[in-house]
Subunit: 226 residues, 2 copies
Amino acid sequence: MSIRYLTAKLAQQIDEELMSTAGAFSLDQLMELAGLACAQTLATVYNKEKYPRVLVCCGPGNQGGDGLVAARHLGLFGYKPTIWIPKPGSKDIYKRLHAQCENMHIPTLPTNEPNLAENTLSTALASSDVVLDAIFGFSFKPPVRAPFDAALRLISHAGIPIVSVDIPSGWDVEHGDAGGIGLNPDALVSLTAPKEGVRGFIGRHFLGGRFVPKWAFIFYFIENFA
Amino acid sequence: MSIRYLTAKLAQQIDEELMSTAGAFSLDQLMELAGLACAQTLATVYNKEKYPRVLVCCGPGNQGGDGLVAARHLGLFGYKPTIWIPKPGSKDIYKRLHAQCENMHIPTLPTNEPNLAENTLSTALASSDVVLDAIFGFSFKPPVRAPFDAALRLISHAGIPIVSVDIPSGWDVEHGDAGGIGLNPDALVSLTAPKEGVRGFIGRHFLGGRFVPKWAFIFYFIENFA
């Protein structure tokens, strides 16, 4: 069966269409389903007995929100998630999602002192079993800026498996891991549909996000979860 | 392990607290998770090969919204859902959730002519394999009014299995099936926690709704899905 890959522009258009037509999905709905799919993917590949400690790394955009939803569900699944979120998004939904995690006593690494972000991340990686990479999504444009440039290096060299959301952080959404700074995840969960940039991805590849009508699924099917 | 049952008032308080504290859940989030739990419960008990045709019966309140979310997920799971919704809710979210189903080509039974609701329901029941009962939730107060009084009789006598959400429709939330007009479901999915009225329920009982912090789950665990 042939797989359809999305350009960054088409991915953006699908998102806008989902949230603007009659019967529009709310951002809350889309993020909840996307984040749940990420948590389910991680739980499918890395069981909580062997990999209980999940470091959920969140970027400042909507993908960071997916990560926060995933952290909450992972906590409910029985994992011990910890959140690294050096640049929290300013949207109200982002704050609510973060508070929902705090209400569940999911710890967030401190990041409010110079250079602390990096040092703290390094320590946290040493006591984690798996990373959920929700740093950059399909709207990412290079270059990778601080503190994420140093963070990607630390995560890459931590020696623990990585599950990336939509596009491995640091990869160009359409051209893949051109600069070599990007993460090299063991598993990838593509939301709605795989992006052009992951054609070269080798690893376990899941499709998540139950919001696109069925007809859109005809052309691609990688590995699905019920 | 002991099971904690909720009064209608306590259930209402938990809902209000979930939506009003810092880190409030939005109604969109709660409904998406509740409806997904309903769809997963039905799929766990009634497989789509033997029971493909699901009649999703929706009331006018928030539980009707859960039903609409469930119908969409059941469609994505591969079932053939049909919606019966004689009194659509007036909230914007209700309309969006219904339009999301229509965009997926999930049919809704016509109900805009006198008596047609009942006749159409009868015909639809004859060509359905299982009913998802999302008519009345924990804010229901007797008596059952038209067209739901006749509808409950039709559903009860249709001879197909019923999955009820939170409280079997027609049951008093605290005193159970007192009047004898209520449905007698084969499976029940309690949202957040079982309600007082279902102490006497005999059948497969699931707990759904991944939004209450873990500490609240310590006291009850019936049958869970990962």
